[in-house]
């Protein structure tokens, strides 16, 4: 479980996160939703340590990440997998080398063991046989799947996904969502997904945190978010005609 306690983060005069607290449970897909500029990305960067918090703490299974030194953080980071918005595959490496990279850096596996692991990860994301392709030769959806394969290669306990559906067509988005959900349950990971996509909320959201003005404005399940009367959430969730129509039909 990941627990965020009273996080504050400012950039000069701009106070982005205000006493933000939330819990992200293991074995569940936790979604952080909210409009652009509300602090979702800053929150994620603070949780994974790419940014330092001004105050507050981040606990990974009761281990206070914000108080750790570099070496201790490094150990926790080997337990984290992350899927970036733009996939962030190393473009000078093949698909196979990308997946094997963390194994090369942090394990004592033989080359054969690493190859077997890479192959099983590729099989898991339905990309068997694409080992020797370069990222530039992959489609957007395939890049995301390779990034998922790389993220799970070290059997992480925590998985972060930053807008995993951005730039993908609806059917590929659905595929990526299902993959994230399946691996979360399969490996009993604590998964945190940052998204704008309401389809993802309905499809995979076990626990949803709505961030507004840098605060944890609302949290609950997908069933609860559909029924909520909170105006800020209604404005966000039912911003599109499609969702308004859907709401009308559900009513």
């Amino acid at each position: 479980m990941i627990e965020v306690k009273n996080i504050n983060k400012s950039f000069g005069e701009n106070h982005v996160l205000h006493d933000f607290s939330a819990q992200f449970e293991a074995g569940k897909v936790n979604l952080i939703i909210g409009q652009s500029g509300q602090g979702k990305s800053v929150l994620t960067k603070c949780i994974v340590g790419l940014m330092e918090v001004d105050s507050g703490s981040v606990l990974y299974d009761d281990r206070d990440f914000s108080k750790m030194n570099r070496k201790e953080r490094k150990e926790i980071r080997t337990e984290i997998g992350m899927l970036f918005q733009g996939s962030a595959l190393f473009d000078s490496m093949t698909v196979e080398e990308n997946i094997m990279f963390p194994l090369k850096m942090f394990t004592k596996m033989s080359k054969k063991e690493m190859l077997d692991r890479a192959n099983s990860c590729l099989e898991r994301v339905d990309l068997s046989g694409r080992n020797k392709l370069l990222p530039a030769e992959l489609s957007g959806g395939m890049m995301k799947r390779v990034a998922i394969a790389r993220a799970i290669s070290m059997n992480p306990k925590y998985l972060f996904c930053d807008e995993p559906n951005s730039g993908l067509d609806p059917s590929t988005s659905l595929l990526i969502d299902s993959l994230i959900q399946e691996i979360t349950y399969e490996y009993n990971m604590t998964t945190v997904v940052i998204t704008h996509d309401m389809n993802s909320v309905i499809e995979i959201g076990d626990h949803i945190v709505f961030i507004y003005n840098g605060r944890n404005w609302w949290q609950g399940t997908k069933e609860e978010i559909i029924k909520t009367e909170n105006q800020e959430i209604i404005d966000f969730v039912y911003a599109s005609k499609f969702m308004k129509t859907l709401k009308g039909k559900l009513a």
Binding site: V48, L50, T78, I80, F84, A88, D91, P102, M105
Partner: protein, 246 residues
């Protein structure tokens, strides 16, 4: 004030670069790849520039020797001295600052804006050490070979241009090359080369690593890397000349 901040950031960056590597084997493989990428791949341009610059130095020296009192071997002597003391270590390093420096800044800058560096950090890899240290080792190790190669080709270019134009004989040019030779000049040139190699890679990496934004900013970082590497090389050249030769 911003210059002081930048120098502070640069020093902090270098501390990270020289921290203990995670996996020596991976770093070794990367260093070999970097020797190929920033060293061997620069041999072509170094060869072309050296041959023609050596030829021009020798021809200009010959054309300016109006006095019959000046012996012909002076052409070989001046070609050798100019090449070893200044042309090969400094001018070739400035050329490499353009070629290698812009390459490093744009490579690291692109990795920064496409979140590849964040991906390394999330995995627990010290991105600065992983990306920059192999480049520094490769450049400091291999640039001296490039410069020795440049010295040889430059002198050869001078020799052929002067002898084929009939401005000096083979014996006169070779005598000039050997006259008043000090091996300490070679040491001075190689020390300068190692310092310049370090400057090119570290300054370019600095601009690449702290790139923010998108493609346009990567281009700006690349330009800044070349400009600042060149300025720092010229300043270091002055300081080293004072320290070693004076």
């Amino acid at each position: 004030m911003s210059y002081i901040t930048s120098i502070g950031k640069y020093v902090g960056m270098m501390r990270e670069v020289f921290s203990k590597p995670e996996r020596f084997k991976v770093y070794y493989t990367r260093t070999i790849a970097e020797i190929n990428s920033i060293g061997i791949n620069s041999a072509g341009i170094v060869a072309i520039l050296s041959v023609f610059m050596g030829a021009v130095i020798a021809l200009q020296t010959a054309s300016n020797m109006d006095s019959p009192l000046l012996p012909k071997y002076t052409i070989g002597y001046i070609t050798r001295s100019s090449t070893i003391l200044e042309f090969s270590p400094t001018i070739i390093s400035l050329i490499l600052a353009g070629k290698v420096g812009s390459n490093i800044a744009s490579e690291i800058g692109t990795m920064k804006v496409t979140e590849q560096i964040d991906a390394l950090e999330i995995m627990g890899v010290n991105s600065l050490s992983f990306l920059v240290l192999p480049k520094i080792i490769a450049a400091v190790f291999f640039f001296p070979f490039l410069i020795i190669f440049s010295m040889g080709l430059s002198i050869l270019g001078g020799y052929y241009s002067v002898t084929s134009a009939g401005l000096a004989s083979h014996e006169e040019f070779v005598f000039g090359l050997r006259a008043f030779f000090k091996s300490s000049d070679i040491v001075y040139a190689l020390v300068k080369t190692c310092v310049f190699a370090f400057i090119i890679v570290s300054v370019s990496s600095y601009f690449g690593y702290y790139t923010k934004g998108g493609a346009l900013d990567v281009g700006t970082s690349s330009t800044q890397a070349v400009v600042w590497s060149s300025i720092v090389i010229l300043m270091a050249n002055f300081v080293l000349t004072q320290l070693i030769l004076m």
